[in-house]
């Protein structure tokens, strides 16, 4: 497929290699995080008037899900303020390498590697998400807690262990970044193979070894590349490329991902369905239960959430992948067929999350400027927008933008299902049950958006 290597454009390469622009963006993101935490703790508890909830769950989340991830993949991770304080403390520097860093630099236990810990972290946050989404103080506490956790992890474990194995959002972004237009890859793997010092991984005076503990030459997808650009700086052979590529390139080729990553696909699309049903559905009791942390209704809701996302949907999907196998004998043993089909759900999941986020931002975008204009609820009017009235956007469009996103995801997923089925030698017969599963999921989303 055609790719455009942005690193070949001198101006772009200079901007990417230089630490200045990235640092400016990182400090801006940190300033935003500071504002969010302070306003969340001290400002109004009204969710749609406080920058903590408005900036994080409306502005940032929508920008991430609708623009950043589909277009730029993990680019957000390169400026994410949650990990920066820990990373800088670990390195003992903000700018360039200045000798050995601080901390114990222990390796993350092999048994905990992979996405399982991230899956668990995501589920944990998801169970508390409704009060967190609506209560600025909880948002601030969650973010401050993640910063402190990242600092602690950075001082004990090597590099960006927190981002790679623990960040609840990191696995989310990583999975869907496979659809992105942007990728970091090596230009010629043979050059890397012959390069003895592997400065992209070990680091040099020009930059740090890959914080994400990835070897660029082995990158096949965007999942574990944080786009921090360190390898671009440390490669003495100019063998690292930042490519613009057709959207969804990582997903075009059938691959059998690990069970953790396969499960992540199910978990994310399942939690999107639960969120959409809870937040957009007609069941106010369900919303109340999800918000009443610690109460019996919340325990019931949590049990339902876990049942749907961890057992029911994966179980149904597993069944669907088995139903079409010729003569009842699957072409791959164990969870092999499940692992092969699971990445096909990524487009539908991304479409659903983008649709959900679009619905949120269209309804609430007008709260952003008033919240920023008076961040602490003290009657300030910094931007002159403090009294701007809440005005939903795109009302004349109805649910069509969301429907289009879900249908686009479903179409893409259907094509991937067919490709995987062909790859496994099962043809249409093998694809049909998985199509049915995808259609069932999509119907849930569409019903929520339309009805």
């Amino acid at each position: 497929m055609t790719r455009i290597d942005l690193g070949r454009i001198p101006v772009v390469r200079a901007l990417l290699v230089s630490r200045g622009p990235q640092l400016v963006l990182q400090l801006a993101a940190l300033a935003g995080l500071s504002l969010v935490i302070v306003s969340g703790l001290l400002g109004t508890p009204v969710g749609n008037r406080n920058p903590a909830t408005v900036l994080v769950w409306i502005a940032w989340w929508a920008a991430l899900m609708i623009v950043a991830v589909p277009l730029f993949g993990r680019l957000w991770c390169s400026i994410c303020p949650l990990a920066l304080p820990g990373e800088w403390l670990q390195r003992g520097a903000i700018h360039r390498p200045r000798g050995p860093g601080r901390g114990l630099s222990l390796r993350w236990p092999p048994r905990l590697r992979g996405m399982w810990t991230q899956n668990a972290a995501f589920v944990l946050v998801a169970l508390f998400s409704l009060p967190v989404l609506t209560q600025p103080r909880l948002t601030a506490i969650l973010l401050a807690g993640l910063v402190l956790l990242a600092i602690a992890i950075s001082l004990v474990f090597e590099r960006r262990t927190f981002c790679r194995y623990l960040c609840p959002v990191g696995g989310f972004i990583g999975l869907y970044s496979q659809a992105a237009l942007l990728e970091l890859r090596v230009r010629d793997p043979r050059v890397c193979a012959q390069h003895k010092t592997k400065t992209c991984y070990s680091g040099s005076t020009a930059g740090y070894g890959c914080p994400w503990m990835a070897f660029p030459a082995s990158l096949k997808t965007n999942v574990s590349c944080g786009l921090c650009l360190e390898c671009l700086r440390t490669c003495p052979l100019d063998n690292v490329a930042i490519n613009l590529r057709p959207i969804g390139t990582d997903l075009q080729k059938p691959t059998r991902v690990g069970l953790d990553e396969a499960f992540k696909s199910l978990l994310l699309v399942g939690s999107a369905l639960v969120y959409v049903l809870v937040l957009l559905g007609p069941w106010s009791n369900l919303r109340t239960a999800a918000a009443s942390v610690g109460s019996m209704p919340w325990v019931t809701y949590s049990a339902g959430f876990l049942l749907v996302t961890l057992i029911a949907l994966p179980g149904l999907f597993h069944l669907a992948t088995r139903l079409g196998t010729p003569n009842g004998s699957p072409p791959l043993a164990g969870w092999g067929v499940f692992r092969a089909f699971a990445p096909a759900l990524i487009p539908l999941g991304l479409g659903a999350w983008a649709a959900f986020s679009l619905g949120l931002v269209l309804a609430n975008a007008s709260t952003i400027l008033p919240a920023i204009s008076d961040p602490l609820g003290l009657g300030w009017d910094i931007l002159g927008t403090s009294a701007a009235a809440w005005t939903p956007l795109g009302g004349s469009l109805g649910a069509w933008p969301m429907v289009v996103l879900v249908l686009a995801g479903l179409t893409w997923t259907s094509r991937r299902v067919r490709a995987v089925a062909e790859d496994l030698g099962g043809g249409v017969r093998m694809a049909v049950p998985v199509w049915g599963f995808s259609l069932l999921l999509a119907s849930g989303f569409l019903w929520s958006f339309v009805a």
Partner: protein, 332 residues
């Protein structure tokens, strides 16, 4: 080269200090300053279940402006001072609204929420204790229901009820003068309509009239002792404060009828909570005098979730309200 690297690192650290130390400290300092400033008092409004007005007690001095910064922490609330003519101030969630109050007389004033913010909306009240020297304002007379010794908790069944809805205009068409003792406002508000009907029925001048016509005279007495303005004011007060429980048509079926929590005696003695009164029920309402209704409105309770409106409504407003309540029984 070394100098340049150190400078870049120093600049980076300076930038970091600005965003993670100076910015939060600056914001926190502004917040502390706003909350410790003596120029204005910040009052938070929350639904009663979450604390109501915080603080619930404010202090002021006569003729010294009390500057308030009001902010709702949850839903839309309204702020008003009871028994004053000042219009209420709406408090949109999260928006700070400033208002200044000046009191000319010492005393205890009630401020309250004017928006139906939740089931316990009426409990969302606070007080302003105003200190200073008493002016020339005369003290208010004892409420009529107290001076008449009416027990507002006692049942008050009507000894007689009309078969037909009484009409003041039909009574006008009769061309019959109301007898002495049944002409004035005091005559009407001190006795229940049923008592008035019995009085008129037993008057020899009413002997030729049917029972229904006598009820029409009762309606006429009511209408002749109030004004269109009072009825309009009563209607507005009812819509704002009463209809949520008692229903727009007075049938005791308002949207909040089943969710108003117990109050007063019903709460303290754990008594069974009765629903809101049904003003369309002749057998009970026509046994109540306006003076009795005044007491119920002033004090509230009666084994129901009825709020006490004494600190909120003026005497004239309460009388306007009682006058309006009769429209559920009488036609003009």
């Amino acid at each position: 080269m070394v100098l340049r690297r150190v400078t870049a690192e120093h600049l980076a650290r300076l930038g970091l200090a600005l965003v993670v130390v100076a910015l939060p400290l600056g914001l926190a300092g502004a917040w502390v300053h706003a909350h410790t400033s003596q120029s204005a008092t910040i009052v938070h409004a929350r639904v009663s279940e979450d604390g109501g007005w915080l603080p619930g007690t404010l202090r002021a001095r006569v003729e010294i402006p009390l500057q308030l910064q009001l902010v709702s922490d949850d839903v839309v609330h309204g702020f008003a001072i009871g028994r004053s003519g000042a219009p209420p101030v709406d408090l949109p969630p999260g928006q700070l609204v400033e208002t200044t109050l000046t009191f000319s007389e010492p005393g205890t004033y009630t401020f309250y929420c004017t928006r139906w913010c939740g089931p316990a909306h009426w409990r969302m009240r606070g007080v302003i204790e105003v200190a200073g020297v008493q002016g020339q304002t005369a003290s208010e007379p004892e409420p009529l229901y107290l001076s008449l010794g009416i027990d507002i908790d006692a049942p008050h069944p009507a000894a007689a009820v009309p078969a037909l809805r009484p009409s003041a205009s039909r009574a006008e068409a009769l061309g019959v003068d109301l007898p002495e003792g049944n002409r004035s406002r005091q005559d009407f508000i001190r006795r229940s309509p049923a008592e008035t009907w019995q009085s008129l029925r037993s008057d020899p001048s009413g002997a030729p009239l049917s029972d229904a016509q006598v009820w029409d005279l009762v309606a006429r007495l009511w209408r002749s002792t109030t004004t269109a303005e009072a009825l309009a004011e009563g209607r507005a007060l009812y819509a704002q404060n009463c209809a949520a429980c008692h229903g727009e048509a007075g049938a005791g079926d308002g949207v909040m009828a089943s969710s108003v929590p117990p109050a007063g005696e019903a709460l303290s003695v754990g008594a069974h909570l009765s629903g809101p009164a049904d003003f369309t029920e002749s057998s009970t309402l026509l046994g109540a005098s306006s003076a009795l209704l005044q007491g119920k409105i002033l004090r509230g309770g009666m084994g129901t979730g009825m709020p006490y409106w004494g600190p909120i409504l003026t005497e004239a407003q309460i009388w306007a309200l009682t006058d309006y309540l009769w429209t559920f029984q009488f036609e003009e």
